[in-house]
């Protein structure tokens, strides 16, 4: 009798086989989903960004990105902008005149728009579809102005290469990995200024 029961237990029924099989598949599936989630959170939730306080506007952001034009664009911290008529990020130095004629402008692609607000204020906005990330305006603004223009990797364009081709040649070592949920870095001067 005992031997018959033992033999019965050893002979797995089809129903048990299917039950155990499904359980194993579900378990493996859950494990793989968890593993994938864990793995992907480590590799993809960090993205490349440029620390504007380290940037020296060498111009490589415009030429070393795998994308053309570069994923690096100029952005503007309006809170620390002086809204000056003579904007050193907009005008070449010295300008022939303080107007919007091409010969006075610093940006090689006319990506900065100058708009009269009221005397003596002018607003400067970046047309990112034209910006190539050369940083000329950033250099001008930082040299003589408040430093409200700065470069950032724009994540609607960046393909987040494992090895960022700009980062490896950045002479200021300004590139860093930041969390994807907070992918932009403000200049220190702009933090807390509204």
């Amino acid at each position: 009798m005992a031997e018959a029961d033992k033999e019965k237990n050893n002979n797995l029924s089809r129903r048990d086989f299917l039950r155990y099989g499904f359980r194993a598949i579900i378990g493996l599936g859950a494990l793989s989903v968890a593993g994938h989630t864990l793995f992907s959170s480590k590799s993809h939730d960090m993205v490349w960004q440029l620390d504007p306080d380290k940037c020296i506007q060498c111009g490589r952001c415009a030429t070393r990105c795998v994308l053309s034009p570069s994923a690096v664009k100029c952005v503007h911290a309006f809170a620390i902008c002086g809204y000056c008529d003579l904007c050193s990020g907009y005008f070449r130095q010295p300008p022939f005149a303080l107007d919007t004629a091409a010969e006075n402008r610093l940006c090689p692609t006319s990506a900065i728009k100058r708009t009269y607000v009221e005397d003596p204020y002018y607003e400067y906005t970046i047309d990112q579809s034209l910006c190539i990330g050369c940083g000329k305006c950033v250099k001008g603004c930082g040299s003589f102005g408040n430093g409200s223009l700065f470069l950032q990797v724009m994540h609607d364009r960046c393909v987040n290469c494992n090895e960022c081709s700009i980062a490896v040649t950045c002479p200021a070592k300004a590139y860093t990995r930041v969390p994807a949920h907070s992918p932009y870095l403000l200049k220190k001067a702009a933090e807390g200024s509204g």
Binding site: G82, C84, T100, T115, D119, G142, S143, F144
Partner: protein
Amino acid sequence: MNERIISRIITTIFVLISLFSMVWWLSSGVIPPIEIDIPGKDNKPASPGAGTISVTIGQYAERLEGVPSSITGSWPRFRGADFDNISKEKIALADNWEDSGPEILWSVALGEGHAAPAVMNGRVYILDYDEGLRSDVLRCLSMDDGREIWRRWYTVLIKRNHGMSRTIPAVTDKYVVSIGPLCHVMCVDAITGEFKWGIDLEKEYGTKIPLWYTAQCPLIDEGQAVIAPCGEDLMIGIDCETGTVLWRTPNTFAINMSHSSIIMMNYYGKKIYVYSGVGGMVGISADKETKGQVLFFTNAWDNSVIAPSPVPFGDGRIFVTAGYGAGSMLLNLTYSAGIFQVNPLYTHSPKQGLASEQQTPIFYQGMLYAILPKDAGALRNQFVCYNPDSEEIVWASGKDHRFGLGPFIIADNKIFILNDDGVLTVLNASLTAFEPLAQAKIMDGVDAWGPLAIAGGRMLLRDSNRLFCIDLRGENQQ
């Protein structure tokens, strides 16, 4: 069909396809429309106008509870009595400070800006801008405690443009002369604040107000206020008592007003007013017999934005510098057969030599001292000692000591430097090395750019919103 016809048909088909593709490509919006960058695309009105209200200079006055101090010592104008930014007081100043820094004797709130004080007879004079009153306010404070003795003001709308107030009054025993941001000149009695006269340079002389307002600090010389309107007249002398214009120099060189101020120098027994404007630098006779006559002019030094004033060396050489990439120039003034001539000796870019964007360098013991601008490469914002003879930087403060656009002054053979954020550093005025003695944070504000003043061993310094008086004296002097 022969081959020729077939070939022509194929060619024609390809040409038509190409043309069609090009038309489709150009009209599909793939290529953005070409925009021509021409003047006027910023919607700037032809004549923006300040939208100012009518200004009645010196309109209001009030006496207050402050009492003049018995503290001696004066700082009568921008860069002091000798235009060199060096205090000549024989008061020993402390070589080092307690951890808490030098004692803060008093402080008063100011309107946002960079206007700095002049000191005379225990009184501190500062042309403030009061946003509540919407007025330029000439305030007379006690050197003892900062309490206001009197104030005189006039309503004028100044919009914030890297701060509002800018200038330093000129003061004598009898008069105070001030210039407001929109070029309103006012003269009052130095003791009582009684109004003497006022001039609106824009309205009366056609002055073009500089970007970020005027920073020209007035000058009083032998009872005359000397002003550079840079409009119809280049320079004028006004009797302080009556307001009568005693002499004028026509603006034949079409010089516009800069942020620079008139500096007085002596050369070959001649007293000369030197002014560096937008359009060139000019020397005007300050001698009684020939006052107002042009002695020399050069447009070799001509920049669109000039804030520092000329620095005469006393031997005919004049150092000039400016920001926005201008760098600097050393000019040489010569005098022969009754004629002055001025010629450049050398020019340097900000990376090649000494340059300054905002503050005027100091010439001391044969060296020039200044903070280099942000476009000076590795030495940006460092305080440097420069030898104008060898054209070399003798020493620099180093990458751990950068000072922004802050002011500096020399007293008791020490250099005091205030950085943008209100940290005061004192160092030996050394000819060989950067030798810091002490450092202290005096204020928490920003943009501490107003020039420093020293009187009676006390220093007056400010950030964008507050004026401080600190005691610099050594222990045995207090």
